[in-house]
Assembly symmetry: C3
Homo-oligomer: 158 residues x 3
């Protein structure tokens, strides 16, 4: 049986999301069975660019507009000043041929990394399965995550 690894993606900072996918993709390329559990702000990483109003309350809807999320829109946690920041990072990544976040997501799916969205956070933010990109395998609670995590040794909260 192959080694298991889990990554909790709690943040929607671009830098932390990139680190999460870099670690997950490296683990998968080494034959590890990798699960990513997207929770709280981390749900923004796997949101579609356009989220429907659906049954969201006004608060949930308004919050969704302010925190648009989606892999393409995430911002760095630091250095958002003087023009050095998200766009600089993206252009430097291109120069040095590093995978963008979208490419990291695609690569993860190709390699069989499992994407789980946290049901508790979804309920809080009024998000449903349809608000996420197709790459998401499953919606599940913390118990499912912990069941998987307790079978492996590399369990990171990012």
């Amino acid at each position: 049986m192959s080694e298991k690894m889990t990554v909790i993606v709690f943040s929607d900072d671009l830098d932390r999301a990139l680190a999460a996918f870099n670690l997950a993709n490296t683990g998968a390329s080494m034959g590890m069975e990798v699960t990513m559990f997207f929770t709280f702000w981390g749900l923004g990483v796997i949101k579609k660019e356009r989220v429907a109003r659906g049954d969201k309350s006004f608060m949930q809807w308004a919050m969704g507009l302010m925190k648009r999320g989606s892999a393409r829109r995430l911002k760095m946690s630091q250095m958002n000043m003087l023009g050095f920041g998200t766009s600089t990072m993206k252009s430097m990544m291109k120069t040095y041929r590093m995978p963008s976040l979208q490419e990291g997501i695609a690569l993860a799916k190709e390699q069989g990394v499992k994407f789980m969205a946290c049901t508790t956070s979804m309920a809080l933010m009024g998000l449903t399965r349809d608000d996420f990109i197709d790459e998401v395998d499953d919606v599940a609670g913390a118990a499912t995550y912990l069941g998987i995590a307790s079978e492996g040794k590399v369990n990171l909260f990012i």
Copy 2:
């Protein structure tokens, strides 16, 4: 012997504290033996609302006033603008019947989750056992934490 799990609570952001208690409580409900180690800003989560001056230096005392802490007063790490933020989150949690941080703390104790306060951080901030809520089981150093962590596989730094 039941599976062990540890959570280092380093932050006093409301969102991170909620995530820590959600994971700890889920683990405990699955029969895991859960230890939470509160360190640095995380000590704010378990502080009483009123902390006595005691032997604190002026700096420690003044810092305590600025960082009042206590579960009831914590703030979100993001979105503290336009009124969407801590109070929005709290009212949404109420609407969706999610446990507040205080309820999370009570539930954790009910389920036997162990609370440890980090002695090094306490010394730095001039806090003593009496400055914490009764739910805290123990004050201990990083060695005690690592001894427990190395017996389990789910060890998260939040």
Copy 3:
């Protein structure tokens, strides 16, 4: 064989770096085999105070000037206001005889903690081995880190 422990140092916040070294040094003093993997902003913790222009692009060079890094220059993640902040913390640490970050680094090396700098982040920021302090043992990718992490149970992302 002694227990293994890894710490990913992702952040260059002084408080998080201190927590990372406190945990790593405690683990080492208990006989654990500890590896610290410095990635992204965390590279700032192990940068020399003066980094040469070398082959850096203009963007990398300019970014380096804005994020000077080096253990001596790191700042707290919070409380950088009203004079309570980095300098207060440092003077309180001195009063309570806690090791500074530089002392934590020295102690870690004395105890055989291994320092690895992440090659992917280095490429992105245009940093080479020469830009880091001598204490760094190795430059390596995420695969090397994961190989070590999967042999231990205490694997923290800070």
